[in-house]
């Protein structure tokens, strides 16, 4: 693996942290899903995302001679770069699906674009990831339809979930100044929005769901400003490792 520059490492950390925190959230659900088939499906998705996170964090770590575990377990909250969407608690299954619908559509557009990155490591990671998040997109879209068009209760829950999740969409497409230095390497977030909207809107239309209007969360994850939830996620994820500095597992 080539050595990432400081800027590329910062960008790989954005992407790696998004996948890591989302995988961590989905990991909470395994053995608690509404059907055994969903335990398998959510486990699969978590595993894919964790795989992406590991590749991205390994690459980010090359800039500072750290490995994936140094980055996952020994950074503190302000050093994480995850978007607030990925940090949101699972809530009910409709909230899980709403978060999956948005994140998978975002990640798909991101990796589809990043396959053409001038950075060959990022391009290779993206080429593998795009196929997997395409399945995640389909999984979320199918469930969005079932929940939105199933029963009165499921529809009520799906509508509420989408409107709870939607305020966190904007942050995914916000450019941070350092992105200017990664022209041709990073997928500039703001330029992914059109494709995201074009892909997600037909799913919402088929599910007879309106694009929610209302709050837009201030975000800040890319600058290390996180939701209240992240500290709890990290506390749980890091507790054992931090109790045994220097240990191998």
């Amino acid at each position: 693996m080539s050595v990432a520059s400081a800027d590329v490492a910062e960008y790989a950390t954005w992407l790696g942290d998004d996948s890591l925190i989302l995988a961590q959230r989905l990991g909470e659900l395994i053995s608690r899903a509404p059907e055994l088939e969903e335990d398998v499906a959510l486990g699969n998705i978590a595993l894919d995302l964790l795989g992406h996170a590991r590749s991205l964090l390994q690459y980010a770590g090359t800039a500072t001679a750290q490995n994936e575990d140094d980055l996952a377990y020994w950074r503190t909250e302000p050093d994480f770069r995850s978007a607030h969407l990925m940090e949101q608690p699972n809530g009910d299954f409709a909230h899980v699906i709403a978060r999956q619908l948005v994140s998978a559509h975002y990640l798909y557009e991101l990796y589809a674009r990043l396959q053409a990155s001038a950075d060959l490591t990022l391009a290779a990671i993206a080429a593998k990831a795009v196929k997997e998040v395409n399945y995640h997109r389909d999984h979320a879209a199918q469930w969005t339809l079932r929940l939105a068009l199933g029963t009165d209760e499921s529809r009520r829950r799906m509508v509420a979930a989408l409107s709870d999740v939607w305020p966190y969409v904007d942050e995914l497409f916000r450019d941070e100044p350092f992105i200017d230095r990664l022209d041709g390497i990073a997928a500039r977030p703001s330029t992914l929005r059109t494709a995201f909207d074009a892909a997600i809107e037909p799913v919402l239309a088929e599910a007879d769901l309106a694009v929610p209007r209302g709050f837009t969360a201030a975000g800040g994850g890319r600058r290390g400003v996180h939701s209240e939830h992240l500290a709890f996620v990290l506390a749980e994820m890091q507790v054992l490792t931090r109790a045994h500095p220097g240990a191998k597992w």
């Binding site: 890591l20 961590q24 990991g27 909470e28 395994i30 053995s31 608690r32 899903a33 509404p34 059907e35 055994l36 088939e37 969903e38 335990d39 398998v40 486990g43 699969n44 978590a46 595993l47 964790l50 795989g51 996170a53 590991r54 964090l57 994936e68 575990d69 996952a72 377990y73 009910d92 299954f93 339809l145 079932r146 929940l147 939105a148 068009l149 199933g150 029963t151 209760e153 499921s154 529809r155 829950r157 037909p202 239309a205 088929e206 599910a207 007879d208 749980e236 994820m237 507790v239 054992l240 490792t241 045994h244 220097g246 240990a247 191998k248 597992w249």
Partner: protein, 325 residues
């Protein structure tokens, strides 16, 4: 009394070591025994996800986290194959699930022990999956076809699970003093319950004889337990852990290990619902089932609406379903 033609065919198939398939006639008792055994096995896979999923969010490295997610996911998959195998005998998954969450069905008592330490993920793989493999490899030749075939795939995955458990413990035993202590403490807790997984001693195992006659079961409980210990002793030496049985020694005459006394009172207590985590395991399964009801209802309602739509309409995926709004 002479056997009916069907019964004779069944007996001949068993005698010829052939497979009984779902379409074949079989005695009611054979069917009942299989449903009991296969559904218990399926429930064990599903309940068995809990002690391990307890560590997914806290796994101490990303590699371990990935392996653990894959393992727990395999267990859900095993549960699904086994429920399907049992369904071929005419019992629905819903019936089996209802029996489980109502506390009427059994599952392996081992999962009523808690996993408070990371090393327990190692011990569950090494000892619990190891014992399960000893029990299950002979089941690949079980006389009932769908069960035997499900077991072939399950055993392949279980042997991978056992190796990953061994590897977790090996890493701990080669690590810091605190990690070695963590590993030994965990093996101390899991060793005896793992031996109990083979069931009561042969002279106290009411269902065994008939199951062996039907070739569902191929070896006695004590025989399998012995085989397991023979496998463990050299592995424990490689790990550097002590098996917590001061009476364990090799018997030159029998070429087997003599074991200390197993505490069968503990076995019966846990079986009777008085183990460390029986209530918690069942509650968690019931909560997941209850919390998921509205989701399953939505999926069923949606499938029903789609099936009811005219063919031309369903072919067009972009048409919103008006009936739902």
């Amino acid at each position: 009394m002479t056997a009916s033609v069907e019964e004779q065919q069944f007996t001949d198939l068993i005698a010829a070591d052939s497979r009984i398939e779902p379409r074949d006639w079989m005695p009611d008792a054979y069917r009942k025994t299989l449903v009991r055994q296969i559904s218990q096995h399926a429930h064990s896979e599903i309940i068995g996800m809990q002690p391990e999923s307890n560590w997914i969010t806290r796994a101490p490295s990303l590699k371990r986290k990935a392996i653990l997610i894959a393992k727990v996911q395999d267990e859900a998959g095993h549960g699904l194959y086994l429920y399907s195998a049992a369904q071929t005998l005419g019992t629905s998954r819903d019936e089996m699930t209802d029996a489980l969450i109502a506390g009427r069905a059994r599952y392996s008592s081992i999962f009523n022990y808690p996993a408070p330490s990371w090393a327990d993920i190692g011990s569950i793989g090494w000892l619990v999956d190891g014992a399960a493999i000893c029990n299950q490899v002979p089941l690949c030749r079980a006389s009932y076809g769908p069960y035997g075939r499900a077991m072939v795939r399950i055993c392949k995955e279980e042997s991978f699970h056992q190796r990953q458990g061994f590897e977790i413990l090996l890493e701990l035993m080669q690590g810091t003093a605190a990690q070695r202590e963590m590993a030994q403490e965990s093996v101390n807790r899991w060793y005896w319950p793992a031996l109990m997984m083979f069931g009561p001693p042969d002279d106290d195992s009411p269902n065994s004889a008939q199951s062996m006659k039907w070739k569902i079961k191929r070896h006695s409980n004590d025989e399998l337990r012995q085989r397991f210990v023979n496998m463990l002793v050299p592995q424990a030496a490689v790990l550097g852990v002590t098996l917590p049985d001061p009476d364990l020694r090799f018997n030159e005459a029998t070429q087997l290990y003599d074991l200390g006394e197993i505490d069968w009172t503990e076995f019966h207590e846990v079986l009777a619902g008085r183990g460390p985590a029986n209530a918690q395991r069942l509650q968690r399964r019931r909560d997941a089932h209850d919390d998921g009801r509205w989701v399953r209802e939505a999926a069923a309602a949606y499938a029903h609406k789609m099936a009811a739509k005219p063919a031309t309409d369903t072919a067009d995926a972009d048409v919103p379903n008006e009936a739902a709004s």
